[in-house]
Amino acid sequence: MISRRALEVATAILTGSFGVAVAVQSLDNGIGWSTEGVESGTFPFLTGIIIVAGSLYNLTRGVMPAASLASVPVAITSIELRRLAGLFVPAAIFVAAIPLLGMYVASAAYVLAVLAIPRHRSVLLSAVTAAATALALYVVFERMFQVSLPHGALAAALGF
């Protein structure tokens, strides 16, 4: 269970640290006025400062029990969290597997896994869906639009 407050605080910290990174990095490019006009770090530096300031405001608003937040004490329930993980974790594994397996094998395996393992569909039907997905990707991208999707290190090792 994650409270709205925790989520607000975490997001504010996330945006704030991005802002700090932006502001610090911009210093390398130089900020202020030079003979060639406004130096290239100035604009990003300012946006970094604005992000930090805004995040600090959102952080304090998130911590304070303001009226608007009290009405939603729970942002994500544990059931919702499980559903979120159920979608996101396989998707992340899928993306991580692309360099090795290539887009076609990885997406077929992904579809097969998310349909067959939680028993949403029978293994046979899942396999058919998975094969159809990979085939559709191949036909649409490699053939129709001539966009080459990654074939993966494994395919390269096998000589495809």
Partner: protein, 511 residues
């Protein structure tokens, strides 16, 4: 009358067999992404973008804009039949559309929605026909300072009128600007904000951001609630369609009012989502049957639908004539324009007459095609909604992954897309607006260039933004919009009105 002859010329470009075929394809794809939760107009259009690189710009824009119209209509179908908004901008349509459909009048609800949507779109297109070239003419005289002032006004209006918490809007905008700055600086040629990752020298493509923010992000929000697609009957009674459309003129006040709200929100970038909510709220306050809103009231469907489509259409006006898109989808289309080698802005009306007027003419035709197709295909797409979410979700993930990869064949883009997905989920969950973020990514560079050029002209003095009447007006209006939420809060505090309660109800509906 110049505009009308140009428009007629535009029709000769738009009404050709290949272009009509593109419209049909675009509208159908648009309805598809509009119907599917997790896929919306912004990422639908960006998915299609890489496939248009080999096309003539005018054909490409006809395809993409038709997809936009289709998506706007498709979102309403699921809102009415399933109580699931397929698009953020059709959330307000669920309030009265679904109750009416549930009470056994699905055809009436759909026909009312499509009829008023078509009216809203028509008003938007007429506005573009007569106003766009005039605005462009005025804008031809703009220097960098005026441009920066217009950008400033656009961003300020998101803060002042976007409907989300103002500081969250500011943070979203600033993050967009920072992302736009990543990569090689166009003015000095130096490399900025790569965070030590060499591949980021090429910058972050907005398509990658859109895929993650709107695709994965929306999917994560959608998966939280298990969908129960308990559809009401999706059979269309054709006689009732004509009867319902025939009854629309009785609500002409609501139609005109909502169209005006929509056009206003589309041109001053507030976007279709904010427009439909605002129009619904105002409709409830001013309609004679306002207290019945929420129970399946005709004007409760007319108000959000008309405003939604009027805003979606008129969002293209500032995109064409100023180079400032009025909605997230318009921002994506503008990114396309730049990729096709066109320079969005007033010069389009001088150099690319065929493109501009072909597009405007296609908007008339495209919306008619969209109404006809959406009515014909309601049963098909309603059947699609019965496919369980667990099957559709992984397919949408794959579409987003492939979409992000195909932009520049980079694996890093796919990883970033997933990261944007998490950010999109958090932002949606906490009511940070996404449209200004995308807008800032697309036009952040141009705004910065305009600022730096004006600083060069004035040798570093901010006085250039108050140098003449026009630029002063724009800057002052922008500052006023920025301060508007603050002023409203003060006003509420002085008169002891509980402002916080109003924001929470708004937060609940703006998803």
């Amino acid at each position: 009358m110049d505009n009308l002859s140009e428009l007629l010329h535009g029709f000769t470009i738009a009404v050709t067999v290949p272009h009509l075929a593109l419209m049909v394809v675009g509208v159908l794809l648009g309805i598809l992404v509009g119907v599917l939760p997790g896929l919306g107009a912004p990422n639908g259009v960006s998915l299609l973008l890489p496939l248009t690189f080999g096309m003539q710009p005018v054909s490409a824009i006809i395809l993409l804009s038709s997809m936009y119209w289709g998506a706007l209509f498709g979102g309403s179908v699921t809102s009415i039949l399933f109580n699931i908004p397929g698009e953020p901008s059709s959330v307000a349509t669920t309030f009265d559309g679904y109750p009416m459909a549930r009470d056994g009048r699905p055809t009436t609800a759909l026909a009312t929605a499509f009829g008023s949507a078509a009216f809203g779109a028509l008003v938007g297109v007429i506005l573009i026909t007569f106003l766009a070239s005039w605005v462009a003419q005025v804008a031809l005289a703009f220097g960098p300072a005026e441009y920066f002032a217009v950008y400033f006004l656009a961003f300020a209006s998101f803060v002042g009128m976007g409907g989300a918490a103002p500081i969250k809007t500011v943070v979203a905008l600033a993050i967009g600007f920072a992302i736009a700055a990543i990569g090689i600086d166009t003015v000095s040629g130096s490399v900025r904000l790569t965070m030590g990752i060499d591949e980021l020298v090429k910058g972050v493509n907005f398509v990658v951001a859109v895929m993650g923010l709107f695709g994965i992000g929306e999917l994560l929000v959608a998966v939280e609630e298990e969908f129960h697609a308990r559809a009401v009957s999706s059979k269309i009674d054709w006689l009732e369609v004509f009867r319902a459309v025939g009854r629309l003129p009785r609500h002409s006040v609501a139609l005109l009012r909502s169209a005006a709200i929509g056009c206003w929100m589309g041109i001053t970038p507030g976007g279709p989502t904010a427009a439909s909510f605002m129009s619904y709220g105002i409709g409830r306050r001013f309609s004679r049957r306002g207290r019945y809103f929420g129970t399946g009231e005709v004007e409760g469907i007319i108000s959000p639908e008309t405003a939604d489509h009027a805003a979606g259409t008129s969002a293209l006006l500032p995109m064409l004539s100023l180079g400032i898109p009025g909605s997230a989808t318009a921002a994506v289309m503008m990114g396309g324009l730049m990729i096709w080698g066109l320079n969005p802005g007033p010069m389009l009306f001088v150099d690319q007459k065929d493109f501009v007027w072909g597009l405007i003419a296609s908007m008339y035709v495209g919306n008619i095609v969209a109404v006809a197709l959406v009515l014909l295909t309601v049963p098909v797409f309603a059947a699609l909604m019965r496919i369980p979410f667990v099957v559709i979700a992984p397919l949408i993930v794959i579409i987003c992954v492939v979409g992000a990869y195909s932009v520049s064949s980079s694996y890093l883009d796919v990883v970033m897309m997933l990261g944007f997905g998490v950010v999109g989920y958090l932002f949606k969950k906490l009511f940070y607006p996404l449209a200004p973020l995308v807008l800032a990514i697309v036009i952040g560079d141009k705004a910065e260039d305009a600022f730096r050029q004006s600083m060069l002209m004035s040798k570093g003095s901010l006085g250039i933004f108050f140098a003449n009447k026009l630029v002063t007006c724009l800057v002052v209006a922008g500052i006023a919009l920025l301060l508007l939420p603050l002023a409203l809060q003060l006003f509420a505090r002085i008169f002891r009105k509980p402002a916080s309660i109003e924001t929470t109800t708004q937060e609940k509906v703006i998803i």
